[in-house]
Amino acid sequence: MQIDWLHFSPWTALCGGALIGLASAFLLLATSRIAGISGIVGGLLRTGSSDAGWRLAFVGGLLAAPVLWQLLVPGGLLLPHLFLESPEQLLVLAFAGLLVGLGTQLAKGCTSGHGICGLARFSRRSLVAVVIFMATAMVVVFITHHVPGVGV
């Protein structure tokens, strides 16, 4: 294993993480809701959900964050324009989206709900979920990045 010192950003990672933790803690203490993105969005898709208000507000905040960031922070974001250099990449991206949507609903959580909120309250279920999705993702990245002829 070799550390990518060029891209490793310990301070922004820790501070950004702390902001995420603060947001999750605030949402829980103020409204008794868990800041799990897949759970919040999934709840909006269920027919007859009666608590759409706070969910829409949270998603709205998340969607507005990059817009405000671009306006307020000098030098702004931005995310690099990756992938989508070929039709194959578009298909892979669409397929990945389907899997992320389906998987997070079946598992009732993603990197935020299980990975942060779940681990912060020592949930065994969340620990199992995190170990599985991290391990699977690492195997997939190994295959796509290091097995000759598979690259996407």
Binding site: P10, I20, L22, L45, A64, G97, G103, R125, F133
Partner: protein, 135 residues
């Protein structure tokens, strides 16, 4: 009040994702690529987030009501079942293929990136499709 708090939490959460670099799929893939040039940043994001959340979550579990008066309900289900195992594995495959999980996907959508929008729409379809998966 709940909606206002949720809006603020969403903004903070989004700012955290952007500041930490986790809204950038390349950075996430850099963490998942153990055999390549490994970028440990994501691990520190989790350390920072969990480190800050751990005490408030323990406190929240002891409250009977939230600050705005809603009954405090913590998730009770701690069962490891087949849906959790299969769902987490499917999510992991999608995450590894794209470098995007639900939060960063929404950031990417909010930033107006076409790839983010495509991913987000497919993610919503996948979420909806989960309703038809039998137990």
């Amino acid at each position: 009040m709940n909606a206002l708090a949720a809006l603020l939490a969403g903004l903070l959460f989004g700012a955290g994702l952007i500041l930490s670099g986790m809204s950038d799929p390349a950075k996430v893939l850099g963490f998942l690529d153990l055999a390549g040039n490994w970028d440990p940043s994501l691990m520190l994001v989790m350390v920072g987030a969990i480190g800050v959340a751990i005490v408030p979550f323990a406190w929240g579990a002891r409250l009977s009501r939230s600050w705005f008066g809603t009954p405090m309900v913590m998730p009770r289900n701690d069962r490891v079942d087949r849906r959790l195992l299969i769902g987490s594995a499917l999510f992991g495959v999608g995450w590894g293929l794209s470098g995007l999980c639900p939060g960063p996907a929404l950031i990417s959508l909010g930033a107006g990136y076409l790839p983010g929008a495509i991913f987000a729409v497919c993610m919503l379809l996948g979420m909806k499709a989960s309703e038809w998966v039998p137990d």
